[in-house]
């Protein structure tokens, strides 16, 4: 994964609650065996509607997606994260994320910014009113800033995830450094545990 320090830019306000991963990337798109090519699948069922917020010209080039509460609930499909990133978003903001989605974000360097319900609403309104509004998500300081609104809030990001984001580190490589610990755990596993072979 690529290192990520700061995400700065305009945002798309997706003003709905409970946007599940079936909406983010419908199941037809899950048949691909590649990790790329999902940008067109992002919200594909809604994008047919020319009025869908992502289709509006004033939001072209946005790098941040702002959703309502319970964003990314449902299926574990990591394709949802890939689609959001490949479309061009580097951060997602919501008052509450589906837990597997949020975890998948941490594996791909997509910054999931959880804000209070009030801040979430304020952002959705402000961006709808002014699509040029600039937002800054700072991974190092763990803050979301919107200077035009005089808004600065901090968001939660664990030390370990922050460390990986800032350095672009692969989880697997880190775990493999603990091969000895894994080996010794394995030798102590009870003999009655099943094997698939």
């Amino acid at each position: 994964m690529e290192p990520v320090h700061i995400v700065q830019g305009t945002a798309v306000p997706l003003d709905r609650s409970d946007v599940d991963t079936d909406q983010i990337i419908p199941s037809d798109w899950l048949k691909r065996v590649e990790r790329t090519g999902f940008d067109k699948g992002l919200f594909s069922e809604w994008r047919d509607d020319p009025d869908f917020v992502m289709n509006r010209e004033e939001h072209a080039g946005a790098s941040i997606l702002v959703g309502g509460p319970n964003f990314g609930t449902g299926s574990s499909r990591e394709h949802a994260v890939w689609a959001i990133q490949q479309y061009g978003f580097a951060a997602v903001i919501s008052p509450r994320f589906g837990p597997i989605f949020k975890n998948n974000c941490t594996k791909n360097g997509l910054v999931a910014v959880e804000v209070s319900a009030d801040v979430g609403e304020q952002l959705l309104e402000a961006i709808a009113a002014d699509p040029t509004l600039e937002l800054t998500v700072d991974v190092e300081r763990r803050t979301l800033e919107v200077p035009a609104l005089e808004l600065e809030v901090s968001f939660e990001l664990s030390d370990s995830v922050q460390h990986r984001f800032l350095n672009g580190l692969d989880d697997i490589g880190l775990t493999m450094q603990h091969d000895d610990a894994i080996g010794s755990f394995e030798s102590g596993r009870p003999g009655f545990k099943p094997a698939t072979t």
Partner: protein, 465 residues
């Protein structure tokens, strides 16, 4: 004093360091064709191998057709995904049950019936309904594709600590209510976000009285209220189910296993971070009316009005949902006409579910114009059902009897709803487009699904008399 989930968690910590997530060992990794190709690719790109193929098992379920399974898959992209899985498991030496194999089926149905799912294990799969296996007192949760790759390479996963949540169902269920109604009632109480950040333990007399099939139905939908996992303490019901299954421990191993499994209960006096209590007597048959599983009511109720929600977000979501679902507030659910009935999915495709549906279908016939699909969860369930003659009962009643797979649960195969079609479905998600673009899904129990197929509108078996 610890809870059940804390005990299982603690027994799998490979490494614990302050400020870092625990590194947990994974006892069983289930793999299917949809969420694994990119993970195997990642291994290849980095020159890594599968650490424990002997703790990994693969099957084909999401894409498989439920008719003509001995012919090649017609959809080319689905076929490629299935072929990719076959190539990957053979390259990495993983046991695999392909379409047509007696043991093939929905990944969450085959683990338990082969005896691979046992109490006190950690089980993961690139699929959110992995929570199903928690019915055995296992800590089982869905993971993303990057984590699939991580588990393949290391047999471990870094996991941040979770809160604990107790969901207690008191008393007993009214006659005619099932495990599905229990979990739909829980969803009504918790909403889609009530379990986020927690591992839920289902407890109380109603849960204890459930069969293993029923417990799996309840745990299956834990993710629908956002819980990391759902668990039920193992007991004699669990042990009786497991004894003699192909992968269950044998002889002296069985004795030591049961001795350990009996310790897997929440200690007297241990406390939970969150508690929910529901009176069993209030759980009559339920049905969803909206586009997420938390939008649920009793079958006896009417479609709610958006104005009846105090929370503006819920109210707006309700009006959007009614619009999509083509429903008018105030319509009694029993008067809503249905055109498709789907009995299947990892929530309700086990033998007991099929028996419940067949009991309703027996000697009756589906309503005119009703499309019905009965899709057993696995090859073993199908064989068992046929040995019991359930297939004949379904076919005689006008139901369509199919081959095992995920089928219309998510419509990656040809079984789909058309725009505007309305289903009564025993699956777990009623999201927009889940069963086909523009399709309208209502989640119900197998008994209600079968009764609805016969009545033509939402109905419980009691309504047919």
């Amino acid at each position: 004093m610890r809870t059940l989930s804390q005990k299982v968690w603690d027994d799998h910590v490979v490494r614990r360091e302050d400020g870092q997530p625990d590194l947990l060992y994974v006892d069983l990794h289930l793999v299917h064709e949809v969420t694994s190709p990119q993970a195997f690719d990642g291994l290849r790109q980095n020159g890594r191998s599968v650490r424990r193929p002997d703790l990994t098992i693969a099957t084909e379920d999401h894409n498989v057709p439920t008719e003509n399974i001995h012919e090649p898959i017609a959809d080319e992209i689905s076929a490629k995904q299935v072929e990719t899985l076959r190539a990957n498991v053979s390259e990495f030496g993983i046991t695999h049950y392909p379409m047509g194999h007696a043991n093939q089926g929905i990944v969450h149905v085959i683990g338990p019936e082969l005896g691979l799912t046992q109490p006190g294990m950690t089980i993961v799969c690139g699929d959110s309904h992995t929570s199903t296996h928690g019915a055995f007192g296992a800590l089982a949760f869905g993971i993303g594709t990057s984590e699939v790759e991580h588990v393949l390479a290391t047999q471990t996963l870094p996991q941040p600590a979770q809160e604990t949540m107790a969901i207690t169902i008191t008393g007993e269920l009214p006659v005619g209510s099932t495990a599905k109604d229990v979990v739909l009632a829980i969803l009504g109480a918790c909403g889609t976000g009530g379990g986020i950040g927690a591992i839920a333990e289902f407890r109380g007399p109603v849960i204890e009285a459930l069969s293993m099939e029923g417990r799996m139905t309840v745990c299956n939908m834990s993710i629908e209220f956002g819980a990391k996992a759902g668990m039920i303490a193992p007991d004699d019901t669990t042990f009786a189910y497991l004894e003699g299954l192909p992968h269950a421990p044998k002889g002296a191993d069985w004795e030591s296993a049961v001795e350990y499994w009996r310790t897997l209960r929440t200690d007297e006096g241990a406390t939970f971070d969150r508690e929910v209590v529901i009176e069993g007597e209030t759980i009559t048959p339920h049905v969803t009316w909206g586009t997420n599983p938390g939008q649920v009511i009793r079958l006896a109720d009417s479609v709610p009005s958006p104005d009846s929600f105090d929370d503006p977000v819920a109210s707006e979501a309700a009006s959007r949902a009614l619009d999509y679902m083509g429903l008018t507030a105030g319509t009694p659910m029993r008067e809503v006409p249905v055109d498709t009935v789907f009995i299947g999915s990892c929530t309700n495709s086990r033998i007991e579910d099929l028996r419940a549906a067949a009991a309703v279908a027996q000697g009756r016939h589906v309503a005119d114009g009703m499309r019905t699909l009965v899709v057993p969860g696995s090859g073993l369930v199908k064989a068992q059902a046929e040995a019991e003659g359930l297939d004949r009962i379904f076919v005689d009643a006008g139901f369509d009897w199919r081959e095992p797979g995920c089928s219309m649960c998510l419509a990656m195969n040809p079984d789909k709803l058309a725009e505007g079609e309305r289903s009564a479905s025993t699956s777990n998600r009623n999201f927009e487009g889940r069963q086909g673009r523009g399709g309208r899904t209502h989640l119900v129990s197998p008994a209600v699904a079968a009764a609805t197929a016969i009545a033509g509108t939402f109905a419980s078996p009691a309504d047919l008399d």
